[in-house]
């Protein structure tokens, strides 16, 4: 039994999607005023740094960028062994800020629910907007993304994997179908 995989986006494709998302963020927020980036560990963390670089190149502005770990806020603690924890590093105040929350794949929405609670415990942002590279559907909560790299219809048995190199640059995104 081996799995079959198809490439959804290669490195160039990911780059183009992130460029578009970066422009959309600037357009919707009319610039960089009070804008901060927060990536969800670990995939969203890499992507938020990528968006940071692009916005710096377009606008010459370095946005505050942080990373959040949602393990402590998961709703499935106690139904599996305690998951590994990563650090939350948000070295700036969230009060009154427009937070761009970044994740790699949007699926059930449970990670985002946890991230929203985690952000609220850290401060009172003016708004929170969600940017994701892939929206694969199958939401279990009323959550939607403001910025989407690509919508990909998937079945629940499939898996979407984002592969990063050691610098955190996305190399490719693959759809993995289990073959039985």
């Amino acid at each position: 039994m081996s799995d079959e995989s198809t490439t959804l986006l290669d490195a160039t494709g990911v780059g183009r999607a992130l460029t578009r998302i970066s422009h959309e963020i600037l357009e919707k927020n009319k610039g960089t005023q009070d804008l901060v980036l927060v990536g969800i560990r670990t995939g969203g963390d890499h992507l938020s740094r990528d968006i940071f670089n692009r916005i710096r190149d377009f606008e010459g502005v370095e946005l505050p960028v942080g990373a959040i770990d949602i393990t402590m806020y998961r709703d499935d603690l106690g139904i599996r062994s305690a998951p590994q924890m990563h650090s939350t590093e948000i070295p700036f105040s969230l009060d009154g800020k427009n937070v761009i929350l970044v994740d790699d794949v949007l699926y059930t929405g449970r990670t985002i629910r946890a991230a929203l609670d985690a952000l609220m415990d850290l401060g009172r942002p003016r708004s929170i907007q969600l940017a994701v590279l892939i929206d694969r559907g199958h939401r279990e909560l009323p959550i939607r993304a403001d910025y989407v790299g690509r919508n990909v219809p998937t079945s629940i048995s499939e898996n979407v994997e984002v592969e990063f190199d050691s610098d955190g640059t996305a190399l490719q995104i693959r759809l993995i179908k289990p073959r039985s």
Partner: protein, 323 residues
């Protein structure tokens, strides 16, 4: 890796990978203690009983704060204010508490092995040993290791001197097992009456004098002379002890210039440690206390945030739970 221990009874049953996981988890929890809102919902709905048969301020408060910051409900029971004074046995006390469905029992007892005894008899609760007799005090050793690693970046290859009543100290036993397991080189020193025969078998080098132990040390861990336990019969006078085994600025100079000074507390200032050293730039004594909360949060999370029922773990993994 997955943490699969149901109880934390001692350092002895933890592997290097498990100790690493606990220390890393603690480092990530530490940030919560500096927030405005010092609370996360991780252990919401869990009940933790702190069952203390021996006096304790630091450890009990630390476990209680750790539980509360994880949103668990924590209840403190001290022996002096419980049915123990009416003659109830340890087992009966524990069985009665278990009937109220706590998830974790944090326990301190003057008898070595008391938590192990309960762990075998209570079917549901996880037991965390908060000090049993002269046996182990795992959370203290873990917070010590966390503090050393934070300042030195590693444990492997460090020279650690532990000075004081080696025989009666559960802090020493847990640290000795943990530090040597993590690759540190541990020497112990103290009056001859306070060095147990055979301590070398746990991996310690026995030094005959304080100066010998301090020579080139990266970490100096001073122990409290436990006046309430056995201090008097094993020592001629406190002044003599202080003269031969007290840490002061001049003998500390024998250790490395950046050596850390540690003490598990409570300190007898002027006996085992001079005030100028305890409050000096090399002292990390309050860092130990701060890290204690983070380490205990990690322990509560790892045993309480998990479901140790194998079949449930299997089925949730095969469903590929990704939030």
């Amino acid at each position: 890796m997955d943490f699969t221990q149901k109880h934390i009874l001692g350092i002895d049953h933890l592997s290097v990978a498990e100790i690493d996981l606990i220390l890393n988890t603690a480092a990530n929890f530490k940030e919560i203690n500096n927030r405005d809102i010092k609370k996360v919902p991780t252990l919401r709905g869990k009940t933790i009983i702190n069952l203390f048969f021996e006096a304790s301020t630091r450890t009990r408060t630390s476990f209680e704060i750790a539980g509360k910051r994880l949103s668990a409900d924590t209840i403190n029971i001290s022996a002096s204010a419980s049915s123990v004074v009416k003659g109830e046995t340890l087992e009966d006390t524990a069985m009665n508490l278990e009937a109220m469905h706590p998830d974790i029992i944090v326990m301190r007892h003057s008898a070595s092995g008391a938590p192990h005894y309960l762990a075998k008899r209570l079917p549901r609760s996880s037991i965390i040993n908060a000090g049993d007799g002269t046996h182990e005090h795992p959370s203290q050793a873990l917070l010590d290791m966390m503090t050393i690693r934070e300042h030195k970046g590693r444990l492997d290859g460090l020279k650690v001197a532990i000075v004081g009543d080696i025989t009666h100290s559960r802090v020493v036993r847990s640290n000795l097992i943990g530090l040597t397991r993590m690759g540190a080189d541990v020497r112990v020193a103290g009056p001859g009456t306070m060095i147990p025969p055979g301590i070398e078998r746990l991996g310690a080098t026995v030094c005959r004098s304080l100066n010998e132990a301090l020579e080139g040390a990266d970490v100096v861990m001073m122990l409290r002379i436990q006046l309430e336990r056995q201090g008097k019969s094993l020592l001629p006078t406190l002044r003599e002890y202080s003269r031969f085994f007290g840490l002061n600025p001049s003998n500390l100079a024998l250790a490395k210039p950046d050596a850390l000074v540690m003490h598990p507390g409570p300190m007898n200032r002027g006996v085992e440690i001079s005030t100028s050293v305890a409050d000096g730039p090399q002292s990390v004594i309050l860092d130990q206390v701060e890290n204690g909360v983070a380490v205990r949060m990690a322990l509560l999370y790892l045993v309480g945030g998990a479901n140790n029922d194998e079949s449930t773990i299997q089925s949730s993994q095969s469903k590929g739970v990704t939030a």
